[in-house]
Each structure stands twice: as structure tokens, then as C-alpha cells.
């Protein structure tokens, strides 16, 4: 991926209304987000010749979205996937543009994640869970049916070995909730969280309280990717992709076989090699936050905080606006909204563009930004962005 350094850019971002009950189909949400992103880029719908999306059987097809924008694109692509799918689709879009198959690609994630199919459970039959996961018969009969429980097994051991405490998880939550107070569009805008309140909250499934879980929302997000050359025709400030590792995997298909490693450990060296920068150069971040602990684990994996000192790093307030690495500055999936990570991509693009200049939401140093995606301990992807 070194070859594509700064050759491609995100030129448009957009989101639909965010709510607990959209009252419309995922298709309408996707169209809304797409129109906003296209307008943001200063393009017309017909300029988009590739449409891509990821979903977990809870969305609408890119062919539909193109059709109802009145576009007849060259390429449509949809994939089954959650976190880190944005990075993977960006890489695919770059591949298609690089080989001359398309010019400009719109990628979206649309879901009625609250009123429709909820990730938190209830959406799948028990037999489907057992058969769907490789090795499912070894976990489902024991009540381990949700990501909070699977990731919790990793978290308990990792926290035990690295001196991480409940309060450290609390620092991730309270920092992100604090960011959400500057974002009127965040789900938990007007609902700050104090450490005292956090520490009084009971576990749903240890070590996670309800605050450590991402929220569930109805919304769509969209981004537009094109070449830096073509970006000159757009009205937006292009945010260039300095490097990416679209996806890497751990050494074993089963979540709990090797509980001491995660895919992000494999992504990090590829990412920094592709971008030609070091972790200490990065001053602003969007870190996939389906659970608070996932942020701590990625800070370590990506070298953003030294292993064994991640707890001190977050306790010192480094995820906050005046910290060393303001992170998830729109509130993240813990307190802004949930689209399997794409809302975090939108925010980092806006930070790098300096769209919040003159307000208390603008991070001071945005020269180099990191954006990470996490499907789970097994699969991850990430990118480094610059102006």
C-alpha cells in the first residue's frame, strides 16, 4: 500500500438523521446520507460510478441506492461485515480506481440499529448462532451469546495482566461522553457521565457496565472516495489516505483459542509501514469503540500508548480535547451513534479538514490522524489520514 500514498482521498461525508426510531427504511436513510455526502463533495449523483456497502442482513443494497439516486453505476458491491468493513471497502474502491474500472465510489452503512435488527441480541435464532460460528457449539450452550461476553473474556485477562482497572474503562467512557456534550447530534448530548456515576453502575457482563457498551441507533453514514487528482474538482477539502492496512487477521479462527492476541496487533506494523510514519506522530484519533476496553487494547496494539501504561495514559486525560490524543471527538459509538464505525470516520475527516475551526470541538493538531476498525479480536483494519 506504500504505492498509493496520498494518491486517494475522502472527498465527501454525510449522515442521515439519527434517532431511536427512524420510521423509514434503511434505503431512505442511505439515500439521505448519500445525498448529503454528494453535496458535501460538490458532486452530482451521476459522478458516482461505484456504490458499496456492508451490512449484517439489516440494510439495503447499493444497487437500490444507486437506482433511487437515478444513477446507473459501473460497480455495485455489498458485503457481510461489521467493524473495519469501511476500511476494507475503501481499499477495494482504491483498487478499482487504480485499475481504471471506476472513478469515484460512494460507501455507506445504513441501519435501523435500534428500531430494527439490534446487535445487542434477539435478532438471530439460537441454532443459527451455534451453526453460524465456527465452534459455536462450544460457546452458545454456556450462555456466551453476545460480543460483550466474548470480548469480555479477552478484557478480563488483558486487564488482569496489565494492571487495568474499572476506573480505566471509566476514563474511556467519561472522555467520550464529554466529547458528546460538544456535539448536538450525539445520542448522549446533554447527558454527561461523571466518574462517580460510572463507578456506581452495575456490570451487565463483567467487566462491562451499560456505559462500556456502544449504543444502538437508527442512522446511515456515507463517504465518497476518489483520486487526489480528481479531488481537485470537488468543493470540499480532500482528506488524503496516507496509508492503510485494510484488514488483517489473528492466527486462529476461534475467538478464544488465543485470547492474548488481537488482529490489531497485526494491523499496526502494516499500517505504519504503508503510511511511513510512527505512532508518536499521530495527534488525533478515531478508535473503534464497540466496548470501552476495545479502545484500551487498540491504544496498546497501535503503539499510541506504551504497553503496560495504557491505564496511566487514559487516566491522565489524554483522550480528552486537551490531551495528547483527542479520541472519538464526536462521542464515538459509546455516546454519539452506532454505524459499525463509520460515524467515527466522518468525524476524523471533519477534524482533519478543520471544519470545527473557531469552536471548542476543533482539535489543535490534526496533521496526522488515525482511524481504526475492529470486527472483533479476530479481524481489524485501519488507516492514517492527512490533509
Amino acid at each position: 500500500m506504500e504505492k498509493i500514498r496520498e494518491k486517494y482521498a475522502i472527498v465527501g461525508v454525510g449522515e442521515s438523521n439519527r434517532s431511536k426510531n427512524s420510521g423509514v427504511t434503511p434505503l431512505e436513510l442511505a439515500l439521505e446520507a448519500a445525498r448529503v455526502a454528494i453535496a458535501d463533495a460538490g458532486l452530482e449523483a451521476k459522478d458516482i460510478d461505484g456504490f458499496m456497502s456492508y451490512s449484517e442482513m439489516d440494510s439495503c443494497s447499493p444497487h437500490q441506492v444507486a437506482t433511487y439516486l437515478g444513477v446507473r453505476p459501473k460497480v455495485v458491491k455489498e458485503m457481510f461485515g461489521g467493524g473495519s468493513s469501511t476500511e476494507l471497502l475503501i481499499a477495494e474502491a482504491i483498487g478499482l480506481i487504480e485499475t481504471g474500472q471506476v472513478n469515484t465510489v460512494l460507501i455507506y452503512r445504513s441501519m435501523n440499529g435500534r428500531s430494527g435488527v439490534r446487535m445487542g441480541g434477539g435478532g438471530f435464532s439460537i441454532d443459527a448462532l451455534q451453526n453460524g460460528f465456527d465452534g459455536g457449539s462450544f460457546i452458545i450452550p454456556y450462555g456466551a451469546g453476545s460480543p460483550g461476553q466474548w470480548f469480555g473474556l479477552f478484557a478480563t485477562r488483558h486487564m488482569h495482566l496489565n494492571g487495568l482497572t474499572q476506573e480505566h474503562l471509566g476514563h474511556v467512557c467519561t472522555s467520550f461522553y464529554e466529547h458528546a456534550q460538544r456535539n448536538p447530534k450525539a445520542f448522549f448530548y446533554g447527558k454527561p457521565l461523571t466518574m462517580e456515576e460510572y463507578m456506581k453502575t452495575a456490570h451487565l457482563s463483567s467487566p462491562f457496565t451499560k456505559h462500556d457498551y456502544c449504543l444502538e441507533s437508527d442512522e446511515a453514514n456515507a463517504i465518497i472516495v476518489t483520486s487526489t487528482e480528481r479531488a481537485k474538482d470537488c468543493k470540499s477539502v480532500p482528506v488524503k489516505i496516507l496509508g492503510m492496512a485494510a484488514r488483517e487477521v489473528v492466527s486462529h479462527a476461534h475467538y478464544w483459542k488465543n485470547i492474548d492476541e488481537v488482529a490489531a496487533d497485526y494491523v499496526a506494523p502494516q499500517l505504519y509501514k504503508a503510511a511511513g510514519v510512527s505512532p508518536e506522530d499521530i495527534k488525533v484519533a478515531s478508535i473503534y469503540d464497540c466496548f470501552s476496553w476495545v479502545v484500551l487494547r487498540q491504544l496498546e496494539a497501535y503503539g499510541l500508548a506504551p504497553k503496560g501504561e495504557v491505564g496511566d495514559f487514559v487516566s491522565a486525560g489524554n483522550l480528552r480535547m486537551d490531551g495528547k490524543l483527542p479520541t472519538n471527538t464526536a462521542g464515538g459509538m459509546l455516546s454519539e451513534g452506532y454505524t459499525h464505525g463509520m460515524n467515527n470516520v466522518l468525524e476524523i475527516v471533519r477534524q482533519v479538514r478543520r471544519e470545527y475551526e473557531g469552536t471548542d470541538r476543533q482539535v489543535e493538531d490534526t496533521e496526522l490522524a488515525i482511524c481504526t476498525g475492529w470486527t472483533g479480536p479476530d479481524v481489524a483494519g485501519a488507516m492514517i489520514l492527512c490533509k
Binding site: 439460537i126 448462532l129 450452550p141 450462555g143 488482569h160 463483567s206 483459542k257
Partner: protein, 144 residues
């Protein structure tokens, strides 16, 4: 069991398939049967069509008997039932246990008599089998 004490098992019962049947068949007999790779020598658990370590198709099964002990490698305590049947059994301890005599084998099960105060990493446990139906039994952990 007579009618009054008969408890209906509401939790999910392991579904047998081509790869896991020898494990669950042995569980029904209150034994632990684990897949092993004859090429690289690792225990291949959970089992599959070939070795997940080296890709060899030379996998066989080794019966480890009924006297199984281990140590909690990691665990969680769940206070909300995410699957049917667990609403009657809260909090539920879900533990990854590495076997004392075969430390590279890790097996997930509940620590039946455990809770947040009594289970920690390193807790010693032993395997028991819970009869879910007349035909089916499920390995579980209790304190050793």
C-alpha cells in the same frame, strides 16, 4: 427423577455436526474426547476438518477420560441472560479453563458454583457433566 423434581432444561443444547460429534458423543458418556493432530502434535480444539495449526488432515481423537482438572485462564460474570435458560441462573460465570495436564487445551464452560467474589484467574476447577436430557450431557466446571 420423579415427576415433581424433573427440571426441564431450557438452555441451548450443543448441536452435533461432522466435526464436533466425537466430542459431544463422549460428553454424553461423561468423558472428554479431544481432537489431536498426528503431524504437529497439538490438540486441535475446537475440532475441525483438519489441523488449525499446520493444516494436516491427519487428525484423530484422544480420550482424556473423566478426571479433568484445570485453572481459570479468563472469565466473565454475566448478570443479564443473553440466551434462553440463563435467566434462572444469574449471575452466570463463563470461564475459559486451561487443562492442568494439557495446558494447550482451553475449554469454555460455566463455573456452576462460582460468582464474582469466588472466581478469579488461576482458580482451580474440575469438570463435571450436567445431564440436559436422558441422552445428552454437557461438561461444566465446579471448584476443585
Amino acid at each position: 427423577m420423579n415427576e415433581e423434581t424433573k427440571v426441564i432444561y431450557e438452555k441451548p443444547i450443543p448441536l452435533k455436526n461432522t466435526y464436533n460429534a466425537p466430542y459431544w458423543d463422549a460428553a454424553d458418556r461423561h468423558e472428554l474426547n479431544v481432537q489431536k493432530c498426528n503431524t504437529c502434535g497439538i490438540y486441535n480444539h475446537p475440532p475441525g476438518p483438519s489441523c488449525a495449526n499446520c493444516g494436516s488432515i491427519e487428525v484423530t481423537w484422544e480420550n482424556l477420560g473423566s478426571n479433568i482438572t484445570g485453572e481459570v485462564y479468563t472469565y466473565i460474570v454475566s448478570h443479564r441472560p443473553f440466551l434462553p435458560g440463563f435467566q434462572n441462573d444469574l449471575p452466570t460465570v463463563i470461564a475459559v479453563v486451561h487443562l492442568e495436564d494439557y495446558p494447550d487445551i482451553k475449554i469454555i464452560a460455566n463455573v456452576l458454583n462460582g460468582n464474582a467474589e469466588t472466581v478469579s484467574i488461576g482458580t482451580k476447577v474440575k469438570m463435571v457433566w450436567v445431564e440436559a436430557t436422558e441422552e445428552r450431557s454437557i461438561p461444566q466446571w465446579v471448584f476443585a
